[in-house]
């Protein structure tokens, strides 16, 4: 008996050519990934940016801040200037547009200080809440490497720097980047190896403070790329002084801090989601047109009006609440008789979910009756910043 065995013809040339399919380094990384976790991390799915308002699309407070000393300026961002000069900050949107985002923060030197004294510095900073930073797992053996990326267009070329700090501001990691060409958008990409030894908040408090230096005197600067102890360090010893000329502009945008080594596209979570995220730290009631009510309350006795306002979303912590009447007093609409005039705040108390206000007024004899509160300049500010 004869048994014939046959097998299909193999085109060896074709098989070899398949092995030469063009695969980039990230494609091959994806193919080499061992599990779904690793693959998902490489693709970069889900919310990944730990920095709030890194594309500067939310601006609840003001369009411009001048003569900044130490203040929360645009949502998520804090400005500090302890020099003898002065700075102003604005959110700009103009050509040449940066890659990935249309808006950017622009800081201008509006008053010079060419020789910084001991301890003086200028910085822009943001803080990250532990609930968002916990994914980095710093302070554990599972600590992940992080990548900080942003575009910068500074008018003065040279070495710039910044600093990662813990919440107590006594454990620091300085980084550097260079503006190669004046007034040109360039990408900075900084990789920070996961920190395994210190303690990093994972709750609703501040986990990390991230500083960009615009000038720092030697007592608040150090060499980069190492962790070291010391209070309130801001940048590197090679950091140039931004405060030398009133034509100096400092601009950054698309600021992103993400898990992993290497930048991925900027994580644009959309306006409404970013606004809600920002309102976790700051909310403002008013000002509105003089004919629009911003609060409603009722007569509390004959010389006060009080009410409650719901904070949506719930804020990070119990907020500090301020009735701002610096430009104009509140006015009232009364459903019974004439409305009284506003006098002052009797008291305000708050939780993370609402605040209760009680205003002193002129005599109204309308205890228990409803009032509308209006303010075309007056407003109430609730702050739970980091």
């Amino acid at each position: 008996m004869v048994i014939r065995v046959s097998k299909p013809e193999i085109n060896l040339r074709d098989k070899l050519s398949q092995l030469e399919l063009p695969v980039g380094p990230y494609g091959s990384s994806l193919m080499r990934s061992d599990d779904r976790m690793e693959a998902a991390r490489i693709v970069g799915v889900g919310r990944k940016n730990m920095i709030r308002n890194g594309n500067f699309i939310i601006n609840q407070k003001a369009t411009t801040f001048t003569n900044i000393s130490s203040a929360h300026i645009f949502d998520g961002w804090y400005g500090h200037d302890s020099t003898n000069g002065s700075i102003a900050a604005t959110i700009a949107e103009a050509t040449p547009y940066p890659p990935e985002c249309s808006k950017y923060i622009q800081i201008q030197c509006t008053g010079t200080d060419t020789n910084l004294s001991s301890g003086q510095y200028v910085s822009l900073s943001c803080s990250i809440e532990g609930t968002y930073f916990q994914q980095a797992q710093w302070g554990t053996r599972h600590a992940k490497d992080l990548t900080l990326s942003f575009y910068h267009r500074h008018t003065r070329p040279g070495v710039y720097s910044g600093c990662f700090r813990n919440s107590a501001a006594n454990y620091n990691y300085v980084f550097e980047y260079t503006q190669e060409q004046a007034d040109t958008w360039e990408l900075a990409e900084i990789i920070i190896i996961g920190e395994t030894t210190s303690s990093w908040t994972t709750g609703t408090g501040k986990a990390v403070n991230l500083n960009w230096s615009l000038g720092d005197e030697s007592s608040v600067s150090d060499t980069p790329n190492k962790w070291f102890s010391g209070q309130y360090y801001h940048g590197s010893t090679r950091q140039l002084n931004f405060m030398t000329n009133t034509s100096n502009y400092f601009r950054i945008t698309a600021v992103q801090l993400e898990v992993g080594k290497g930048k991925t596209p900027f994580d644009d979570i959309g306006y409404e989601e970013m606004l809600a995220w920002c309102k976790r730290y700051y909310q403002q009631v008013g000002p509105a047109s003089s004919s629009v009510m911003i609060l409603t309350g009722a007569g509390n006795g004959t010389q006060r009006i009080r009410g409650m306002h719901q904070l949506i979303p719930e804020m990070r912590a119990t907020p500090t609440v301020t009735a701002d009447t610096s430009s104009e007093n509140f006015t009232f609409y009364a459903y019974q008789a004439s409305p009284p005039s506003y006098s002052s705040v009797s008291s305000i108390s708050a939780t993370s979910k609402n605040f209760h206000w009680d205003f002193n007024t002129g005599t109204h004899n309308q205890a228990g009756y409803a009032f509308d509160v209006k303010g075309s300049g007056a407003m109430v500010k609730a702050t739970a910043e980091l």
Binding site: T204, G205, R316, A317, T318, P319, T320, V321, T322, A323, V345, S347, I348, S349, A350, T383, A384, E385, L386
Partner: protein, 115 residues
């Protein structure tokens, strides 16, 4: 400078901000830091309104009769009347209560000043 408003609220005088006694609030952390640095002298206690008649309030503040007579003897009736009128004006007949400042609560006085 701060003023205690209630058991859970502090007022920052500079901008009339109402700060909650919440350790996660940065303004409360700054309040604690300021008290540690400058001492409790920068904090005023809560306002306390007591129901007291103008008669009782005036009587409590008039000097003893011996002092009043001494005042008349040394400074004359006009000077004595000036002192008495200041107390009468301070507590008018329309008064229904007095506002005074209470002592600081323990949670403030127990904040240790940094040496």
């Amino acid at each position: 400078m701060y003023k205690i408003i209630s058991e859970n609220t502090i007022k920052r005088i500079s901008d009339d901000a109402f700060i909650p006694k919440d350790s996660a609030n940065m303004d409360y952390q700054q309040f604690l830091q300021d008290v540690r640095t400058h001492g409790v002298g920068i904090v005023e206690g809560v306002d306390v309104e007591t129901q007291i008649s103008y008669v009782d309030a005036r009587v409590a503040e008039y000097p003893p009769l011996q002092e009043q007579l001494d005042k008349i003897y040394h400074s004359g009736v006009s000077a004595w009347k000036t002192d008495i009128k200041a107390i009468k004006d301070k507590y008018p007949k329309t008064q229904v209560g007095i506002t005074s400042v209470a002592a600081l609560p323990n949670w403030v006085t127990s904040i240790q000043k940094t040496p």
